[in-house]
């Protein structure tokens, strides 16, 4: 059993610092793989993430989710062959980009229970609208600075995954954090840059 970390261009893979990893190449693509730990733990998941981020900081990648494995190197190569054209197309889409994650949610407060069913529902609707407005305002900041923005599934929270060209990452973070500072009702976080996990699949997430 081997763990699959990421797919990258064959030419880029040549320059990578392997450090315990192996590169399986086929056609224009290469897959970064490594041994699968015998146990599953939080530390393993974090170690997996560190490897992906290390590779992603050096070259464009399509990262695999933690826990993605193949039976052996031949099975991994087969997977690479089967998906070569679609993965190559997606690698082009994420070229030069990282992922920034933006989350906005209502600040936790102790609230009195609503006085009636109608008031409770009114409160839910109001929170939902607040997040829609936040999405619009953040959207204006992202326009022209993000290649793709996806709203991920989330209940009573706004979760955006942004595919950002690396030279825009710092600016975008500052803009969103400045906007967040003006929000009294919402708690906003910006994390990243990450490998483009949310942009591996073509379909809209969430």
């Amino acid at each position: 059993m081997i763990t699959l970390f990421a797919v990258t261009w064959r030419t880029d893979a040549q320059a990578l610092d392997k450090d315990g990893l192996a590169v399986l190449a086929d056609g224009d693509l290469a897959m970064i793989v490594g041994p699968t730990p015998s146990t599953t733990s939080r530390e393993d998941a974090l170690a997996f993430g560190r490897v992906v981020e290390r590779v992603a900081s050096a070259v464009d990648v399509l990262p695999f989710r933690y826990g993605t494995t193949a039976a052996d190197t031949e099975a991994a190569r087969e997977l690479l062959r089967e998906n070569e054209s679609s993965w190559a197309a997606r690698l082009l889409q994420v070229e030069g980009c990282s992922e920034l994650a933006i989350r906005a949610a209502r600040r936790e407060r102790d609230e009195e229970p609503a006085a009636s069913g109608a008031a409770h529902l009114d409160r839910l609707v109001s929170r939902s609208r607040q997040l829609d407005i936040a999405e619009e305002e953040i959207g204006r900041l992202l326009t022209g600075r993000c290649r793709v923005v996806r709203r991920l599934a989330g209940h009573q929270e706004l979760r955006l995954s942004c595919l950002v060209e690396r030279h825009h990452v710092d600016l975008l973070r500052v803009l969103v954090e400045e906007w967040a500072a003006s929000q009294t009702e919402l708690e906003v976080s910006v994390t990243g840059p990450w490998a483009p996990y949310s942009f591996v699949a073509n379909e809209e997430a969430g």
């Binding site: 081997i2 409770h120 609707v125 991920l152």
Partner: protein, 101 residues
């Protein structure tokens, strides 16, 4: 460029063992069941919000819908507290599909 991993690195050093502690199994089962209930509760909330935003509900319907959701919310909080679970425990990472909630 191509390189195979050494065979000994590809094999797990030992097989992972299944931990079958009855208390852990029970907690895991409760967590799973409550996660599904929470998923349904959230879907009901979203549907209710959409119906209110679309308009057309009578006042008594809004009151009944809101009261039902309020009660569900209270019951879920009670159940979570009873089993020592936090809101974020009621979520499942579905890997490539993202998180359930």
């Amino acid at each position: 460029m191509s390189a195979d991993l050494p065979r000994d690195e590809l094999e797990p050093r030992r097989r992972a063992r299944i931990e079958a502690d009855p208390e852990q199994v029970e907690r895991g089962l409760v967590q799973l069941v409550l996660t599904l209930v929470e998923l349904l509760r959230q879907l009901m909330e979203r549907q209710a919000i959409r119906r209110v935003e679309a308009g057309g509900l009578e006042d008594d319907q809004v009151e009944e819908l809101g009261r039902t959701l309020m009660l569900l919310d209270e019951k879920m909080t009670e159940l979570r507290d009873h089993f020592g679970l936090e809101a974020e425990d009621l979520n499942i990472d579905l890997g490539p599909l993202g998180r359930l909630l």
